[in-house]
C-alpha cells in the first residue's frame, strides 16, 4: 500500500464513521452516548488522512522505503492488513445492516430484569394508556408482582419474535455497549395477541398486566406476560434498542 492509498483508505474509514454518527445510522450499532466520541474519532481519522495525503503530495520525491517497507521486512503482518479496513467501510457505507432483530432474540436468553433501585417501584405517572419500556414492565411484573400495574392501561412497543412453541412474543434488544453484547428482553403475549404477523414486525400493543409468567428455555430466566387488548403495526423507532 503506498502512502497515498493509505491516506485514501483512512479518509474512507473516517468518512464512514462521521457519516454514521451525524445521521442516525450509528444507533443501529451502538448506544447514543458514544456519538460525541464517534464524531471526534471521525474528525481525527479524516485529519490523519488529509495530512497523509498532503505530505505524500508535498514530498512527492521517489520514496523507495515506503514501498519496500510494505512488501518485505515484516512479512505477513505488514500494513497490507490495512486493506481489511475497507470491510467496515463497505459495511457502513454500502450495506448498512439493520439493527438486531428476532434472529438474535431467539439466539440468546432473555435478560434478567433486575429490580431497579432495590424493591421500591414508584407508582406509574398519570395517563391512560401509559407507555412503558419492556424492561420496566418485566421488572415490575417479576419483582413486584405487578402491584404498580394493577388496573392500568399500558402500551408496550417492540418487535415480534416467535417462541420455540410457535407463540408470538414481544421483544426488544437491550444494549450495554454495542450490538455484540445485545441481549433480548422478551414478553409473552396473552389475549388478543398478534397472530400471523411476520417476525421482526414492529408493533405497539395496548392492554394490561397479566399474572402469568414462564421460563425462557434458553437460559431459564423468568419471562413476564402481557394481556393484549389491541395492537397495531408501527414503524421501527429511531432508537431500536430498549
Amino acid at each position: 500500500m503506498s502512502r497515498l492509498t493509505q491516506g485514501v483508505v483512512l479518509l474512507l474509514f473516517g468518512g464512514a464513521i462521521l457519516r454514521a454518527s451525524v445521521t442516525d445510522l450509528y444507533l443501529r450499532y451502538v448506544k447514543e452516548g458514544l456519538r460525541p466520541f464517534l464524531i471526534a474519532t471521525g474528525v481525527l481519522l479524516v485529519a490523519a488522512a488529509v495530512m497523509t495525503i498532503w505530505y505524500s503530495f508535498r514530498d512527492s520525491a521517489p520514496e523507495p522505503d515506503d514501498h519496500g517497507h510494505d512488501d518485505h521486512g515484516h512479512g505477513d503482518h505488514g500494513p497490507r492488513v490495512g486493506w481489511l479496513m475497507l470491510l467496515p467501510v463497505l459495511g457502513l457505507l454500502l450495506v448498512a445492516p439493520p439493527a438486531l432483530g428476532s434472529y438474535a432474540a431467539n439466539q440468546a436468553g432473555s435478560v434478567v430484569a433486575e429490580p431497579v433501585g432495590g424493591s421500591d417501584y414508584p407508582p406509574l405517572p398519570a395517563g391512560d394508556p401509559i407507555e412503558l419500556s419492556l424492561i420496566d414492565y418485566a421488572s415490575r411484573t417479576l419483582f413486584d408482582e405487578g402491584r404498580s400495574l394493577q388496573g392500568r392501561e399500558l402500551t408496550l412497543t417492540g418487535f415480534i419474535t416467535t417462541a420455540p412453541d410457535g407463540a408470538p412474543m414481544l421483544a426488544r434488544i437491550v444494549l450495554s455497549c454495542c450490538a455484540a453484547d445485545g441481549r433480548p428482553i422478551k414478553i409473552g403475549l396473552d389475549g388478543q395477541a398478534p397472530i400471523d404477523v411476520p417476525a421482526d414486525t414492529w408493533v405497539e400493543v395496548t392492554g394490561g398486566h397479566s399474572a402469568r409468567t414462564a421460563k425462557d428455555p434458553v437460559n431459564n430466566v423468568d419471562v413476564a406476560y402481557f394481556e393484549v387488548r389491541s395492537w397495531r403495526e408501527v414503524p421501527e423507532p429511531k432508537q431500536p434498542y430498549g
Partner: protein
C-alpha cells in the same frame, strides 16, 4: 514551506509502476459500488444479516478506543522523550512491573487501545515486562470498567473489588513471569522508518496513519471472528455446562476468549449469564480483557506471532487460576 530539494518532478516516475495500490483501490471501490445491489442481497439471510450487524457494531464501538489508543501511542512515540520513562518507572524491572500495572488504573479505555500503547512504550525503551503488565492491567481495572461492573451487579460491589484485584494480580504475575522466562527475541516490533523523522508533526501523523491501518486491520479480523461466534454458538449449549463447578469456570473462560467483548460491556453480559456461579462469572470478567480473539489478532500484528502464541495461552492459564482463587475467597 517545503524544502526545495523535494521538488523532484514526478511524471517521469509514473511509467515505472503502471499498477500501484492506488489503482487497485480505485478498481475495488468501483466494483463495490457497481455490485452494491447483489452484495446487499447476499447478506439478506437472517444469520448473515446478524453477523454483519455484529461485525459492524464491534468496529464502530471500538473505533473511538482505537483512535484514542493510537493517538496516545503516537504521542508517546513522538513527543515524550525516552528519558521520561527511566525517571517515571522504578529502575529495577521487578519493581517497574507492579508500577506499570497500577498505571493501568488511570487509562480509561478498553483493550483495543492498549495494544498500540504497549508497543509504543516498548519502542521507547520501557522494559517489556512492565509494558506487558500495563497491557494486561489497563483494560480490566480502569475506573470506567469497574463502575460498569458495580452497575451490572447491583448489591454485589465485591464483584468489582474481586475483578480489580484479580486483574492487577494477573498482570503483575505475567510481568514477573516474562522477566523470568520471556525472551526478547520473541517480540518482533515491526520496523518503523517513519518514526525516525526528525520533524515532530509529520512523524506524529505517520504514526497515527500506520497504527490505525495496522491495529485496525487486525481488529477487523478479530471482529469477524467474534461476530461468527456470536451467530454460530447458541447460548442454549452453555446452560448444560452450568451445573458443574469446574466445567462452568472453563466454559465461561473459553466464552470470554471467543466473544471478544469490549471490557466496558462484559460485566452486563456476565450479569445475564445468571445460571452460572459467581466465581465462573468472575473468571469471565478477568479473562476477557486480557485474552480474546481480537486481542490475539492485534498482539500478533504488533508484537509478532512467536510472542502471541506463547503469551496468550500463558495469560489465559494464569487468569483462570487467579480468577478462580479470588472467586473462591471473596465471593
Amino acid at each position: 514551506m517545503p524544502p526545495s530539494s523535494l521538488d523532484t518532478p514526478t511524471p517521469q516516475r509514473a511509467p515505472e509502476r503502471p499498477i500501484g495500490s492506488l489503482e487497485v483501490l480505485a478498481v475495488v471501490l468501483v466494483l463495490l459500488v457497481v455490485f452494491r445491489g447483489p452484495l446487499s442481497d447476499l447478506v439478506s439471510g437472517p444469520a448473515l444479516q446478524t453477523w454483519t450487524t455484529v461485525f459492524v457494531s464491534v468496529l464502530v464501538q471500538a473505533a473511538p478506543f482505537l483512535a484514542f489508543g493510537v493517538a496516545l501511542s503516537a504521542v508517546i512515540a513522538v513527543f515524550v522523550p525516552r528519558s521520561f520513562w527511566s525517571r517515571a518507572l522504578p529502575s529495577h524491572p521487578a519493581l517497574a512491573v507492579p508500577a506499570a500495572g497500577l498505571a493501568g488504573v488511570v487509562l480509561p479505555g478498553c483493550e483495543c487501545g492498549s495494544v498500540p500503547i504497549a508497543g509504543s512504550l516498548m519502542r521507547r525503551g520501557v522494559t517489556p515486562a512492565a509494558a506487558l503488565a500495563f497491557l494486561l492491567a489497563a483494560p480490566g481495572i480502569n475506573p470506567i470498567v469497574l463502575t460498569a461492573t458495580v452497575v451490572a451487579f447491583p448489591g454485589r460491589p465485591e464483584m468489582a473489588v474481586a475483578r480489580g484485584l484479580a486483574g492487577l494480580v494477573v498482570a503483575v504475575l505475567m510481568g514477573w513471569l516474562w522477566l523470568r522466562l520471556g525472551r526478547t527475541e520473541w517480540i518482533r516490533l515491526p520496523h518503523r522508518p517513519e518514526l525516525d523523522d526528525l520533524r515532530k508533526w509529520p512523524a506524529f501523523w505517520a504514526a497515527c496513519r500506520h497504527d490505525v491501518l495496522h491495529a485496525g486491520g487486525f481488529l477487523v479480523i478479530g471482529a469477524a471472528a467474534a461476530a461468527t461466534i456470536n451467530v454460530v454458538v447458541p447460548e442454549a449449549w452453555l446452560t448444560s455446562l452450568a451445573g458443574n463447578a469446574v466445567l462452568s469456570v472453563l466454559a465461561l473462560a473459553v466464552l470470554a476468549v471467543l466473544l471478544s467483548l469490549c471490557s466496558e460491556a462484559d460485566a452486563f453480559v456476565a450479569a445475564s449469564l445468571s445460571q452460572f456461579s459467581l466465581t465462573s462469572r468472575l473468571v469471565f470478567l478477568v479473562v476477557g480483557p486480557m485474552v480474546d480473539l481480537k486481542l490475539i489478532s492485534m498482539q500478533t500484528g504488533v508484537f509478532g506471532r512467536r510472542f502471541a502464541s506463547r503469551f496468550a495461552p500463558a495469560t489465559f492459564v494464569v487468569a483462570v487460576l487467579v480468577g478462580t482463587a479470588f472467586g473462591t475467597v471473596l465471593l
